[in-house]
């Protein structure tokens, strides 16, 4: 593998509180040298990073790549390409495919297909219950042997309290988290958006905050009881943030994520029955948005995960009630983060990189998420000041279902390096031509 020397960038590594101009050398897929002026070995590829931030590449613990079964929405290849374009070196793929990833062969398929894509690393999450039916535990040990990095029934919650308890106990031997989509589906009913004044005006059935928070509360009690690692998906409510804050203060082993869209948008985005703003959990109120932003800034919510959920345009081009839940997020994550968090003063740029790269690595004890010498060479080069307009037709993803279409965002990925290899390069633009 040819060495790569990244010249003259702003080295930003929150894992070491590093923020200075300098070079970065990659050899044999690892970070070989960081900082100052580096003289490259013979034959090294030189990359001009002037005006660019050079940071640990992002890690997304929550994506849906739809394969097997729904390849019309996304495939592992297109999903991995979208991830690389978004600056992600690693993504964790949810098992709610058709059939679900609830056996070792399926885990192996996802991993192999991810490797064939030669883009971002695709790490399979195994199903928590057989057929994701919420009743019988999957063969967790076999799944882990085949390469699963966590277990989840995401798409739906693990509602059975006894099963949840057993999972939090059983997984401890394998060192993997139980990743929970926290929802009381009886409280959600047939809800399609947040319950409140907007759902009342639109005549749509609402999902109350308590639907999420009640399940988070139960799960925290079970994590406390068992000592198992609970990871809470896509936290959307003020109440959940408060519950997690209190649990962390008491030492409960919990980590939690929040999506870019819950940080950026509120239920107002649903007005005019915009199915691009329909997702689980729903966009909430201004109060909730403020709470998840504060929670992320304080570290109560550890990290940002996109919940990248591609759908075919036909499926979203329908009555709101009938459109599927979910939006894509990989290729807008950085721009939405800079726009709605950094430019608003919620996070510094360094903190944003931390929540997208370092914090996921910390939460899941991964070797990436750092520019430390010897670490895997997962590096992203991005321009934090470059504005661009979201054009879903140019996405690497098969899908275009994003509420940010047409929005002007700030912060654009120029290059993504995964294990020392460049897996994404932005189209040459005017800047490169000069």
């Amino acid at each position: 593998m040819r060495p790569t020397l990244i010249r003259g960038g702003r080295l930003l590594d929150p894992s070491r509180s590093l923020d200075e101009a300098g070079d970065l050398l990659i050899e044999d897929g690892k970070i070989a040298s960081v900082g100052g002026r580096i003289t490259g070995p013979d034959g090294a590829e030189e990359v001009d990073a002037s005006d660019l931030v050079v940071a640990p590449a992002f890690i997304d613990l929550h994506v849906h790549f739809r394969e097997p079964g729904e390849e019309h929405k996304e495939t592992i290849r297109t999903g991995a390409a979208a991830a690389a374009a978004g600056g992600f070196a690693e993504v964790w793929a949810m098992p709610n495919t058709d059939p679900p990833v609830d056996n070792p062969a399926a885990v192996g398929f996802v991993r192999a297909e991810g490797e064939r894509a030669r883009r971002s690393r695709v790490e399979p999450i195994g199903a928590a219950s057989r057929e994701q039916a919420g009743e019988q535990m999957t063969e967790v040990g076999e799944l882990v042997s085949a390469g699963a990095v966590g277990i989840s029934d995401d798409g739906r919650p693990i509602e059975n309290s006894r099963l949840m308890r057993r999972l939090l106990e059983y997984t401890q031997a394998f060192g993997i988290p139980v990743i929970q989509h926290a929802e009381d589906t009886e409280l959600s009913g047939h809800g399609v958006m947040n319950e409140g004044v907007v759902s009342t005006a639109l005549g749509l059935e609402g999902i109350p905050n308590a639907s999420e928070a009640a399940m988070v509360a139960r799960d925290l009690l079970l994590a406390e009881l068992t000592g198992g690692h609970l990871h809470v998906c896509h936290v959307s409510t003020r109440q959940s943030v408060e519950l997690i804050r209190r649990a962390k203060e008491e030492g409960v082993p919990v980590t939690a994520e929040v999506t870019p869209h819950h940080l950026a948008l509120t239920e107002e985005a649903v007005r005019d029955y915009r199915t691009e703003a329909k997702m689980h959990p729903p966009l909430r109120t201004e109060e909730d948005r403020a709470a998840v932003r504060e929670g992320l800034a304080e570290g109560v919510l550890d990290l940002i995960a996109t919940d990248h959920a591609p759908h075919h345009y036909e499926e979203k081009e329908r009555e709101f009630d009938d459109a599927p839940f979910g939006i894509v997020g990989l290729e807008t994550a950085l721009g939405v983060g800079v726009e709605s968090l950094v430019r608003t003063g919620v996070l510094t740029l360094s903190e944003l990189v931390d929540r997208m790269a370092c914090a996921p690595a910390r939460a899941m004890d991964l070797p990436g998420g750092t520019l430390r010498r010897g670490a895997p060479a997962d590096v992203v080069l991005f321009d934090p000041n470059e504005s661009w307009t979201v054009d879903p037709s140019s996405f690497e993803s098969k899908a275009a279902n994003t509420p940010f279409a047409g929005d002007e965002l700030t912060g654009r990925v120029h290059r993504t390096i995964v294990d020392g290899r460049t897996r994404y390069r932005a189209e040459p633009d005017d800047r490169d031509a000069n």
Binding site: V197, T200, G203, L204, G206, D272, E317
Partner: protein, 324 residues
């Protein structure tokens, strides 16, 4: 009354009353006045919409609304086609997008649509150039129903400003309630709702609507009572324990009304569940406006059809005589 008021300019579609102004709503009511008289004639037909084609597209069963629209259309001389979901391409799995494209291709002037999904009327209106009139979309809005209710209240009280109207019953699932709430608020009435908390949607107070948990206090407060149908499904879904209990706690009975010093006119969008939300002696009593509502339905729908087809409010009288 319409003197000095600007032309209605309702836009292309009538999706709901929420987006309309009080003036726009009053203009529709004013325009309905001259159309009332057509239905009283021996020959109930005027040439206002001659040559216009209208599709009545009903994805949900409806008797009253569909017939009322059909009479309004026919009395204005439009050519109409009725399409119901059963036995049509819809039953064969056609999407609403494709239905819209096909209607467009047939060069329809207007579509009157009833659909089970909230937002369906706006969805259709955004995709075709024909005028779309919402005849009920899920639990969202049913604007022509509220317009006929407002017209009936105005006939009764002479005006709507500061009128205290209470809507009783299943507000949560009711498009009629939503359209009435918007309509009444827009024209300056005071609006309250009353019903079991399980059937009151959240956030109404933020819109300026009072909420009464007890029917007795609601009756004390209001000048007119709008009674909604309580569907049997609500009991099965656990919103109320039984229809009998609902009648005992929230039923509009003459006994309850008699306790008020004033005579309170009663409205109901139909069809009624006699003995559940309303007792027969109230429904059939001297203060019931239920049948005048139905009569006004045709006039209000004529007005909406006329205005959306480009008619000017102040010329409605002349138009119906074939002079405009």
């Amino acid at each position: 009354m319409s003197d000095g008021r600007p032309a209605a300019n309702l836009g292309k579609d009538l999706v709901g009353l929420e987006p309309l102004s009080g003036d726009q709503i009053l203009t529709i009511l004013d325009t309905a006045e001259p159309f009332k008289e057509i239905s009283e004639r021996q020959i109930k037909k005027v040439p206002v919409l001659r040559g216009q084609t209208i599709v009545n597209l009903f994805f949900e069963p409806s008797t009253r609304t569909r017939i009322s629209f059909e009479f309004a259309e026919k009395r204005l001389s439009a050519d109409t086609v009725n399409v119901s979901a059963t036995g049509s391409s819809v039953e064969k799995g056609e999407t609403l997008v494709d239905t819209a494209r096909n209607l467009e291709a047939m060069r329809i002037d207007m579509v009157v649509m009833r659909h089970g999904a909230a937002g369906a009327a706006q969805f259709l209106g955004d995709r075709i150039s024909s005028n779309v009139i919402n005849a009920g979309d899920g639990q969202h809005e049913h604007p022509t129903q509220a317009l006929l209710d407002l017209l009936t209240l105005r006939d009764e009280f002479g005006g709507l400003d500061d009128l205290r109207v209470c809507i009783v019953g299943d507000i949560l699932h009711s498009r009629v309630a939503r359209s009435n709430i918007w309509g009444l608020l827009r024209v300056g009435a005071d609006v309250a709702v009353c019903g079991p908390q399980t059937l009151i949607p959240r956030g109404l107070e933020e819109l300026g609507v009072k909420v009464f948990p007890h029917i007795e206090t609601a009756i004390e407060w209001c000048e007119a009572l709008y009674v909604l149908r309580l569907q049997l499904e609500r009991m099965n879904a656990g919103f109320v324990p039984s229809l009998q209990e609902y009648n005992r706690v929230y039923g509009v009975t003459s006994e309850r009304l008699d306790r008020s010093d004033d005579e309170i006119p009663i409205l109901h969008p139909g069809p009624m569940n006699r003995g559940v939300e309303i007792d027969s002696d109230v429904a059939d009593g001297p203060h019931s406006l239920i049948l005048p509502q139905v009569t006004n339905g045709v006039a209000v729908r004529m007005a909406v059809l006329y205005l959306l087809s480009g008619g000017e409010p102040e010329k409605a009288d002349a138009a119906k005589e074939g002079e405009a």
